[in-house]
């Protein structure tokens, strides 16, 4: 299928530097799904780490740069709910360019919501014979509403898990705390190091005690934190970004 629209690939800075395979998988996946994707080479960072640390006002130039970089695309797609949440909801307003900025903000999508809501694809087939735990990243889940939240009285949904619903052999583990935060939280990971690590350990334990072999998530920042703890403690559990799983499944 093809949507005949130009998709700009928005790759978070730490994914660019640390997890190129996640970016490659996102690119290939979108191409396989019929999108005309390109990666504007000039992109840098969306400014989230600074803004969440209390320096939103210092991200004006970064935000302006983001808008300029992605101006010409019909859609902007990113394999991170957290970065999309920032661009959409927190980036500082560029004075005099409010309409231009709003237009771009409305074109930015997290990868799984782009597939389910814009491409309207729900029946990806694949084989994944593993016991899998899903890590719901908070900014995507509660910020972008990519999944229902356990606090709310609403129908249960999860856009990422929905895309894997037809995967043969995939067995989800039922977590005790479905959507508790893993403790990454950007600068929180270092400013509140003790808490951050404890939260990460608890999250891991929930998956491991249910015999999950692999944790799938939609945000590499949380995964970087969780896998860092697992690696230090010689825990054998593996980690995958949903883009990698989907891309491997589609030939």
């Amino acid at each position: 299928m093809s949507i005949n629209k130009k998709v700009g690939l928005f790759i978070p800075c730490y994914v660019d530097q640390f997890y190129p395979n996640v970016a490659i998988s996102t690119l290939e996946l979108l191409q396989k799904l019929g999108c005309d994707v390109s990666y504007p080479m000039n992109q840098t960072c969306c400014g989230q780490p600074m803004a969440n640390a209390g320096y939103e006002r210092d991200t004006l130039a970064t935000t302006q740069h983001f808008l300029d970089t992605f101006e010409s695309f019909d859609y902007i797609v990113c394999p991170s709910g957290s970065c999309v949440h920032h661009v959409r909801d927190h980036a500082p307003c560029i004075e005099g360019k409010e309409t231009f900025q709003k237009d771009i903000q409305h074109k930015v999508y997290e990868l799984t919501e782009f597939i389910t809501d814009i491409l309207k694809i729900t029946d990806i087939k694949g084989t994944y014979p593993h016991r899998v735990g899903f890590h719901s990243s908070c900014h995507g889940q509660r910020g972008l509403r990519l999944a229902s939240s356990s606090e709310l009285n609403q129908p249960v949904f999860n856009k990422a898990k929905q895309l894997l619903a037809n995967f043969e052999g995939l067995e989800w583990v039922e977590l005790s705390r479905k959507d508790e935060c893993c403790g990454f939280g950007g600068t929180f990971a270092v400013t509140e190091e003790a808490l951050s690590v404890q939260m990460g350990k608890d999250r891991l334990q929930d998956h491991i005690s249910k015999d999950a072999e692999i944790i799938i998530g939609g945000d590499m920042s949380c995964i970087m934190h969780l896998s860092g703890i697992a690696s230090r403690n010689k825990q054998a559990i593996q980690f995958k970004h949903i883009a990698e799983v989907l891309n491997e499944a589609i030939i």
Binding site: P20, I24, Y39, N42, M50, T191, G228
Partner: protein, 454 residues
């Protein structure tokens, strides 16, 4: 108070921290079950939030209406602009009645005003009659949670305290036995008290009545045995009509403990013959908060404590780590408005996960306000500190593709060549208990370029 330092201390006792986390998660779980048992839950939250919006937008006229109706009912109204004035009013009423001892049911507002130490300094005995509050009072501690004041203590610890203070059997940890001992002890205090203080959960503008919610019935016991009842009330506690209690009482109990209804929702309207009811309406920074557009929503809070029970930080750091009268997420957006410098670490004691906002029965956007307080705090702090300079440099790097590319290469390069002792030294907080990801040979940008794209 420095939250990270206090949190790290709390986590040193691993088994206690785990127990604390699980105990509060149990309450959150009960809340989930209870809130999901009524299909209109989200509609109730919407309604409650809307009613409180209306109250905050018309607070002046509702206060005047409430005062007028309360006076008509024979209640005496006092206005206090701050904690000092509030405490002076309480003391003046006590002096007028020549009263040297009071019983007090749970009131976070009196904690906020530090009423207990003030009265004690003035020779008045104060007995907190809520069981949890009595326990922490024995220890000279403030409550660690606004609904569950002694949630940080285990029954073994309480048994020790009661053995010392109430001469219970040493080592008898049976909760029933301990509760009975407290009951007997408090009965004597109730019977002797001439004056009772309560908080106020809801003041009803149209009738001039107020509602106090307790599970132990201690507010009623105190009030009905005393000759004078002083109700201490924040000016934001108003609701327009009695019928609105149908929204708030359903939300409050379910959010707080998972109960369908609080055991005692007592309405106070007029004093019995020969008795007096006083209401002290306290501002203490509330109108200031009302004037802060981004933060006024925080005044909708009905003090259910659900944001504490759900908060992964609160559960793992305990109420005292916040160093504020109201701890947890709601405290972290209320306290900076009172003393920005003292509470400057609190808005950062969060991952902005948003669970607090989703659990809040009156839909306060708590995590968004935490984000906004961060912006205010960094502005208030000196602009010449290492962190803010780093942010300005970052903005320079991220707005320049070339600088970003170079800094990325240096970062990946130096991580590869530096010895482990440097990257994992104490300077590198990330590496204390976490490994860094394995470093790829090239960034995505390089890969993409090498594929012939530009």
């Amino acid at each position: 108070m420095n939250h990270p330092v206090q949190a790290a201390k709390f986590l040193e006792d691993k088994s206690n921290a785990k127990w604390h986390d699980e105990t509060l998660w149990f309450v959150r779980d009960k809340r989930d079950l209870s809130s999901k048992s009524i299909p209109e839950w989200e509609k109730l939250r919407e309604l409650a939030s809307g009613i409180k919006d209306n109250v905050l937008s018309n607070l002046d006229s509702y206060l005047v209406e409430f005062e007028k109706n309360a006076i008509k009912n024979g209640i005496k109204i006092h206005w206090a602009k701050d904690a000092e004035e509030h405490n002076q009013i309480v003391l003046s009423i006590l002096k007028e009645k020549d009263c040297k001892a009071i019983v007090k049911s749970k009131s976070i507002l009196t904690e906020e005003c530090h009423l207990n130490p003030y009265l004690e300094e003035n020779g008045v005995e104060v007995v907190d009659t809520d069981l949890g509050e009595r326990i922490v009072q024995f220890l000279n501690q403030p409550p660690s949670h606004i609904v569950l004041p002694a949630i940080h203590l285990k029954k073994e610890h309480i048994s020790e305290i009661f053995h010392e203070k109430l001469q219970t059997e040493k080592g008898n940890n049976d909760p029933y036995y301990l509760t009975q001992a407290a009951r007997k002890h408090l009965r004597e205090k109730f019977l002797a008290a001439k004056m009772a203080i309560t908080g106020v959960n809801f003041g009803v503008a149209e009738t001039g009545e107020f509602v106090v919610c307790t599970n132990e019935g201690n507010a009623d016991m105190g009030v009905h045995l005393a000759d004078t009842h002083i109700a201490c009330m924040g000016i934001e506690k108003l609701i327009p009509k009695r019928e609105h209690l149908g929204v708030f009482l359903r939300l409050l109990a379910r959010s707080a403990t998972g109960q369908s209804i609080t055991n005692y929702n007592s309405h106070f309207r007029s004093p019995s013959e020969g008795k007096e009811i006083h209401i002290i309406l306290l501002d203490n920074g509330r109108t200031k908060q009302l004037g802060r557009e981004k933060f006024r929503n925080s005044l909708k809070c009905i003090r259910c404590g659900a944001c504490m029970n759900t908060c992964p930080i609160y559960r793992r750091s305990g109420g005292y780590s916040y160093g504020s009268v109201v701890p947890g997420p709601i405290g972290s957006i209320l306290s900076p408005g009172i003393d920005l410098k003292k509470h400057s670490t609190l808005p950062f004691a969060s991952t902005l996960c948003g669970s607090c906002s989703d659990v809040c029965p009156v839909k306060i956007n708590i995590h968004e306000q935490l984000y906004e307080w961060r912006q205010e705090i960094t502005k208030a702090q000196s602009s010449i500190n290492a962190k803010s300079i780093a942010m300005k440099i970052a903005n320079g790097i991220f707005s320049t593709p070339f600088a970003y590319k170079i800094s990325g290469q240096i970062m990946r390069g130096s991580l590869k060549i530096l010895p482990e002792s440097v990257t994992y030294s104490n300077l590198n907080t990330w590496g204390k208990e976490r490994d860094l990801p394995e470093l790829p040979k090239q960034s995505f940008k390089d890969w993409y370029k090498n594929k012939g794209n530009e």
